[in-house]
């Protein structure tokens, strides 16, 4: 079966600028990344800042062009021609992704007008995200964070995409609201047959939402596999460090976390850990 989304050897390099704007070097934000997402699946990309996860999301959306590699939707390459009808995105901060000067209805109408769909769909879309139809006349600042994010989801679904890129969709929300929004996404995914590329730094959330996960560190996928397996038996040191760092609320979770030896009384940073690893490998 063709993968809904396939990333093949993707590379993206950025220039590093000094404080005065002169280029001092380059950094590989995405360093030869490959993975496949099956139709209807939720694939998670987990990583910290600088891991390249947001850059990958932007390349899938066509907001940035990769330097090398390919991105395929249903087997068809979308390089140079982003498929905005098949792939849509939900950003992290709904306060920033919705125009504060436009009503909810106006914001949802933007993709409908752009793709020639009937404007009556606004009401239908609001129903889908469980918001009252009257919200179409409200402005974003009149809505709570969770409500705004639902509007963003409705807007993304307006063109009936097959794949949704979710870039930290609940990180800016309270935990109780987060649970409801994730539940909504799960329901919509099942009803509409959506495939999700779910980007998050929140591993606990990843565990409960993503079926397969890729752990990113400095532009490389260091480990990948079914979420339960990766979390219960992590192979790579960085995965182990990430899992050990998550603040958890129960004894069971604490028991499953890997134990990392402390350096100078504290947990090592990722850099330290990787440096240590390389040193050990060189010595071996």
């Amino acid at each position: 079966m063709t993968a809904a989304l396939e990333i093949v050897s993707l590379i993206k390099t950025f220039a590093v600028k000094s404080a005065f704007g002169r280029q001092t070097g380059t950094v590989r934000a995405v360093d030869d990344v490959s993975f496949k997402v099956a139709p209807g699946e939720v694939y998670g990309l987990a990583g910290e800042s600088g891991s390249g996860k947001s850059t990958i999301a932007r390349m899938v959306m066509g907001l940035t062009a990769p330097d090398a590699g390919d991105i395929r939707i249903d087997g068809r390459s979308i390089l140079g021609q982003a498929d905005r009808a098949q792939v849509q995105m939900v950003w992290q901060n709904p306060g920033a992704s919705l125009n504060p000067r436009r009503t909810v209805g106006q914001s949802i109408r933007v993709p409908l007008v752009a793709h020639g769909k009937p404007l009556g769909r606004v009401a239908e879309l609001l129903d889908m995200v469980q918001l009252p139809r009257g919200f179409a006349d409200r402005y974003p600042h009149e809505l709570s964070g969770g409500q705004k994010q639902r509007v963003a989801i409705a807007r993304a679904l307006a063109v009936e995409p097959r794949l949704l890129v979710l870039d930290e969709p609940t990180s800016a929300l309270d935990v109780s609201v987060q649970a409801k929004v994730i539940a909504l996404l799960e329901e919509l995914g099942a009803t509409l047959g959506l495939t999700y590329l779910f980007i998050s730094h929140d591993l606990s959330l990843m565990r409960n939402f993503a079926q397969r996960v890729g752990i990113l560190y400095r532009g490389r996928v260091v480990e990948t596999g079914p979420t339960a397996q990766v979390f219960e038996t992590p192979q790579h040191d960085y995965t182990r460090l990430l899992l050990a760092s998550v603040p958890v609320i129960s004894a069971e979770e604490e028991a499953m976390r890997p134990k990392i030896p402390l350096i100078n009384g504290e947990l090592p940073t990722a850099e330290d850990l990787m440096a240590l690893r390389d040193k050990e490998r060189n010595q071996a």
């Binding site: 066509g62 905005r84 992704s97 125009n99 504060p100």
Partner: protein, 287 residues
């Protein structure tokens, strides 16, 4: 600076009404505009606004019949001041109705597209901004005949550049916002993004600047007619009245001082209104 959305109207206007200077400014502007519109109806001697002479009545000091006194040919000053206001406001209106939309569109295009569009528009703006409006009007007057119309064209031809600069910087800021990126990925056309996504965010800045500009344009218009480059007699005009009346200072002070006070009054009104609007739109996030 974060600007409040125009939709929180009642909250914004509440803030506005709490600001005495703003309310005074608004009142002055409304008063002047109404007076200008209804000039023939509210002035005691509307026929004095044009050519009229009554040499027996010249240089009369302010009295109950002639609130502002009479001028050197016997015309009622108060009437002429009101009609002069009409001219000043009309001048401001025409100049701004040309300059603001033109400047705004140029600023949007330069700010959003960048590259050569930006370079061409902004360098043109730089050149225009280097020319003082009065000097431009002088140049125009020396080539064409001095008239109100030509003065308006001269000022408008340079004025749009101020707005270009303002809208350019706002557009640049907004261009990198997430909701613009969202609109692009949703497939919105460029026109939609410029006029439906970016422009609404500029409206508050435009309102403030236009208000302040009105005061400035009126002053420039009055200066031009003071120098004899603007409207020609016998039409009533505040600047001309100040110039003509200046000969008779300090004995017949009302002929020069009262029109000058009227200029001050209306310019002050627009400035206070503009400041009040700016204060109204300037919000700090209250968490």
């Amino acid at each position: 600076m974060t600007t409040a959305p125009l939709s929180t109207s009642w909250q914004s206007w509440y803030r506005f009404s709490r600001n005495p200077a703003a309310v005074i400014g608004a009142a002055i502007v409304i008063l002047c505009v109404l007076a200008a519109i209804f000039a023939p109806l509210i002035t005691p001697f509307p026929e004095h606004a044009g050519s009229f002479v009554d040499f027996r009545n010249r240089h009369q000091p302010p009295s109950l019949t002639h609130l502002f006194g009479t001028d050197n040919v016997g015309r009622d000053n108060f009437t002429r001041v009101i009609f002069g206001l009409r001219v000043s406001l009309a001048l401001a209106f025409v100049v701004l109705i040309i300059a603001v939309p033109l400047g705004t569109i140029m600023g949007l295009l330069a700010g959003y597209f960048g590259g050569w569009t930006e370079i061409v528009i902004m360098r043109l703006t730089d050149i225009a901004l280097a020319i003082p409006p009065l000097v431009m009007a002088l140049a125009v007057a020396s080539v064409a005949e001095p008239s109100l119309f030509n003065a308006m064209i001269a000022i408008a031809a340079l004025w749009w550049t101020w707005h270009t600069r303002l809208i350019f910087s706002i557009t640049r800021q907004i261009r990198s916002q997430e909701y613009i990126e969202a609109a692009e990925t949703l497939g919105a056309s460029k026109a939609h993004i410029l006029f439906r996504e970016i422009l609404p965010n500029c409206v508050s800045a435009i309102a403030v600047k236009t208000s302040l500009d009105a005061g400035f344009v009126i002053l420039i218009g009055a200066s031009l007619s003071f120098l004899g480059l603007g409207i020609q007699p016998p039409t009533a005009d505040l600047g001309t009245m100040v110039a003509d009346g200046a000969e008779y200072l300090p004995d017949f002070w009302w002929e020069s001082m009262l029109p000058a006070a009227a200029i001050l009054f209306v310019a002050l009104g627009f400035n206070l209104l503009g400041d009040g609007l700016r204060d109204m739109f300037d919000v700090e996030d209250v968490k």
